[in-house]
Amino acid sequence: MGLTLTTYLIVGATFALYIGIAIWAKAGSTGEFYVAGKGVNPIANGMATAADWMSAASFISMAGLIAFLGYDASVYLMGWTGGYVLLALLLAPYLRKFGKFTVPEFIGDRFYSKPARVIAVVALIVASVTYVIGQMRGIGVAFSRFLETSYEIGLFSGMAIVFIYAVFGGMKGITYTQIAQYCVMIFAYTIPAVFISLAITGNPLPQLGLGGTVADGTFLLERLDNILVDLGFSQYTIMKGTTLNMFFLTMSLMIGTAGLPHVIIRFFTVPRVRDARLSAGWTLVFIAILYTTAPAVGAMSFYNLINTVQPGEIGAEEGNLAYEDVPEWFSRWEETGLLGFEDKNDDGRIQYYNADNEDFAPTAEEYGWEGNELSVDRDIMVMANPEIAQLPAWVIALTVAGGLAAALSTAAGLLMAISSAISHDLIKGVINPGISEKGELLSARIAMAGAIVVAGYLGLNPPGFAAQVVALAFGLAASSLFPVLMLGIFSRRMNSAGAMAGMVTGLSFTLIYVFVYKGWFFVPGTNMLPDTPEYWVMGIGPQSIGAVGAIVNVFFALLVSKMTAPPPKDIQELVESIRVPRAS
């Protein structure tokens, strides 16, 4: 059976499963549509949240990012997991106790202000829409690369699947498909990882294998450090960026993670406050299975790749792989454009080294190397892994299904956050408060369908700045939503004026800093300073500024609320009541 056919069968089977769940989990009320009737088991919700959170980028790109950045990629590993500690301790239980349907609804009620609710809706939609574009593109790319369809057909298939379970099932349908998607993606990720770890280090647990020894008895990480230095790169395990930038980037990713609405609303679906706390713990367990495996996949597949092209002594002529001897997977991935070879010194052999390192240039010249000849797309570290480890076709097909599951589950979660903000916060909350339950449910379904169409359109015609905005969505969530949510719970004195001042200053500070380096409204060429470390203020890059924006937000929120009247008595009582688990 050919690889494409196997892939069709496995991807088809997972899609059939998602549709089956959709038919079973149809939402009959707004409560079911928005928060799955608040009846989701905390462990099940942990799985669903893990799938909701881990996107196409986590699944496909993260290991490659780790491979090429080494230690410096730790900011993503810690940033995207440490945020759950903040979410579990500072937000999830209290927002669950509040017991409503959306994040802007909490902001509107707590700060007794419709404008505040609308600002929150805008922040939510900007962050979620830019995020969803990446997922839609991931679906289209996966289809066109592995199922040999066009990009458009791939995208439409993805939209159709999400449409079936999200429009009819709402949060209920999404929750149960996300659980299935989690299972698909975690099997797809860990099976090849176990085999590659066995092959390289003899240890089946990738988390231990990363500290294990390779064939010649040296530690894998030590070996990798040495090879990279011999090829003109920095050591794998040392810090290459500045401490301050790593500090703030990690902080921005953590605070941003905790402030992302599509993650927060998942905690509205469990029955009790104590379930919300427990569920956050399980979420992190399920995320950690992938996140602690990814560093092993990154290091091992990178080691494999270097060893493939540099099987012998570095510098010796026959030390490099002759192009005519490349393994089959190499040729296959060359066709996709993710691997590229250009024989710059016409010796018929592949040289992979750091040609940008001036200190290494004399050595390279001595070796007769005339430039790095291998271009590697980072996504290959996960997608080519099963082939490099010589696993059967069904494992390769499962990897494709896993990537699609990661993209679909995150897309559905984001679309849920967007559609509930539109139907519940804008239509029911502001435009037509008298709308009936049935009318609201219908408008929620229409909003969901509309959001899917818009996401699909943007996936087909991605705005040029999409990639940059996704990287900054965390900064925006960190500087606007998280501080206001936290202050709303932990400061009884925090009032409407303070919250608005905080959101506006935090958001503007972050946006302006970003625009200075990335161009005003991301228009190319309008940046006022070059986006390179030597021009960053104190070495803090635009992606790391969200944490500083959060501090600005908190500072102005506290200052302005001190100078203005305290919130009304019923609001202070609301704060008291969300701090206690039992309903009074």
Partner: protein, 88 residues
């Protein structure tokens, strides 16, 4: 009666915040202290094939984050019961 209840709510909240601060100090020290600021120094120590700073940054911190959340869950459940604010 109402004031006794208020007092209890205040004490519950105070104890809750104290627990949060303790856990967040650990969170901060592990991620930012051991994982970033002290990582270059800790990398001189190699345990089970891992330079220690690198291990904290790519493995250890994540395990400790999980432990922190479950510690929080168990302590809060006990605290809810102690102050009689637990759910059914």
């Amino acid at each position: 009666m109402a004031s006794a209840k208020e007092e209890a709510a205040k004490a519950y909240w105070k104890e809750n915040v104290r627990l949060l601060i303790t856990l967040l100090v650990v969170w901060f020290v592990v991620a930012y202290g051991l994982g970033i600021i002290l990582a270059p120094v800790l990398n001189n120590i190699v345990i089970a094939g891992y330079p220690l700073g690198f291990w904290f940054a790519q493995q250890g911190s994540i395990y400790i984050f999980i432990a922190l959340i479950f510690t929080y869950v168990f302590k809060m459940n006990a605290m809810d019961r102690k102050y009689d604010v637990h759910e059914e």
